[in-house]
Amino acid sequence: MKVIVSRSGGMAGIRLTWEVRVEEQPDPATWADFLNSLPWDDVTDSEATPDRFAYRIRCAPHEVVIAEPQVNGPWRDLVNRVRAANGM
């Protein structure tokens, strides 16, 4: 099981990708529970706004694209956790 967060756009237009392999984490069960608890089916499209980031989040079978202003709550938590697991 893995989760991939890809951030594109921003003023710089530079894409960065962070990946976490759940089974390689010190707490794989916590990761799996957290990923399963995310509101994957509740993500709705929103109007793109200039120079904000767009986050593409993949965790098979799920894939969502969320505009930066909507990356709140558990999604924000996810992005922070994935970045932290990648050391940044």
Binding site: G10, M11, A12, G13, P50, D51, R52
Partner: protein, 364 residues
């Protein structure tokens, strides 16, 4: 005072200038306000679309306290706020118009960058601020923690400090400040949809006027200018000079971590992607280069003839929200012919530029 009439399609609770103020401006007969009135009429027409799209309640409810203040047209009205590393806007107000510089370079750079942008648009194109009607210019610095971005949020410019490893603070480059502010101007005028080719045009227009803000402030002719966007934004650890090159898209950086600058400079290399709203920051390289080629052919100061053609196209009636590269090429060509004569140097330069980047064919 007349009670302004609100058109049925307008929702009076959204965006920067309240519709009733726009209605009032649009009705002004005083010739001193002719430009503001014209801009307000244009905004009214276009804002109805934005307002319908946005819906919801505006975060900054209009108090009515700033209705048509006594001000000299063209005079900037800047306010810089400090978010203190939070992601809450607007943050603490730290410098208002006319106050002296302090010790925080981000505040000073934002203040000066807004001034340089106002100076370009007012002295060269007669545009008074973002809305063409003297809208106060607001910016927030120190947004977020190690935040690698700057953006225009519909009401203000917002600048992050960068992470210090890849990016320096985003106020460091006046082309970035001009870029953000131009997103505001585009919102009030052609309001190009931020997706695919119209989105890449939206981006390119911000790069064009961002570059012109810098060139105008430093009195650099086309030959002397770097044509770089975001010069100095990368730290010393990055192999690269800037975010983008208008003169040579694809050459701004080539770094182990970031990879190579992926911008195309012609339609042959157009990038089809779902990322970045259809590659708006990538494919903008094509119209960016077209603008540079016009400037190169015309010579002299790029904010003069080339900038005027682009500005008049942006603020005129020839564009739609979803205009693509070909439509923009046709519109700039028409503007060049109208302003500088059909078959003249400028008209010819515009035709050749769009042919060179592969947007127009058969006109070489």
């Amino acid at each position: 005072m007349d009670n302004p009439q609100i058109s049925p399609g307008l929702h009076p609770n959204c965006t920067i200038v309240p519709p009733y103020l726009l209605v009032r401006l649009a009705k002004l007969d005083d010739p001193r306000f002719a430009q503001a009135a014209a801009a307000a009429r244009a905004s009214l027409l276009r804002d109805s679309q934005i307002r319908q799209l946005r819906g919801g309640t505006h975060p900054f409810a209009y108090s009515g306290a700033r209705t048509l203040p006594a001000r000299t047209p063209g005079q900037s009205d800047r306010t810089i706020s400090d978010a203190g590393g939070q992601e809450r806007l607007p943050g603490r107000r730290v410098r208002a118009e006319g106050q002296p510089a302090g010790s925080d370079p981000a505040v000073n750079e934002a203040y000066d960058g807004l001034g340089a942008t106002q100076n370009l648009f007012w002295t060269q194109y007669g545009r008074d601020s973002i809305d063409g009607a003297g809208l106060p210019m607001d910016a927030t610095v120190h947004y977020g923690k190690e935040y690698d971005n700057a953006f225009w949020d519909g009401e203000r410019m917002v600048f992050g400090d960068g992470d210090g490893q890849v990016f320096n603070r985003f106020t460091i480059s006046s082309s970035v400040i001009g870029h953000e502010l131009t997103h505001g101007i585009t919102q009030f005028t052609a309001n190009l949809q931020y997706q695919d080719q119209s989105g890449a045009l939206n981006e390119s227009i911000s790069d064009v006027f961002g570059a012109l803000v810098e060139q105008h402030a430093q009195t650099q002719s086309t030959d002397e200018a770097s044509w770089l966007i975001g010069e100095g934004l990368f730290t010393d650890q990055v192999e690269g000079v800037a975010l983008r090159s208008m003169k040579a898209p694809g050459t701004a950086y080539n770094d182990d971590v970031l990879g190579k600058d992926p911008q195309p400079g012609s339609m042959a290399d157009y990038v089809e992607t779902e990322e970045d709203n259809g590659g708006v920051h990538l494919n903008s390289g094509i119209p960016n280069r077209a603008f540079y080629l016009v400037a190169e052919a015309v010579g002299g100061n790029a904010w003069e003839t080339p900038g005027r053609i682009w500005y008049d196209t942006l603020t005129g009636t020839g564009l739609r929200r979803d205009s693509d590269f070909a439509a923009f090429a046709a519109a700039t060509t028409e503007t060049a012919a109208r302003l500088y004569g059909s078959g003249g140097t400028a008209h010819d330069a515009v035709l050749r530029a769009w042919a060179t980047v592969g947007v127009l064919t058969g006109s070489e």
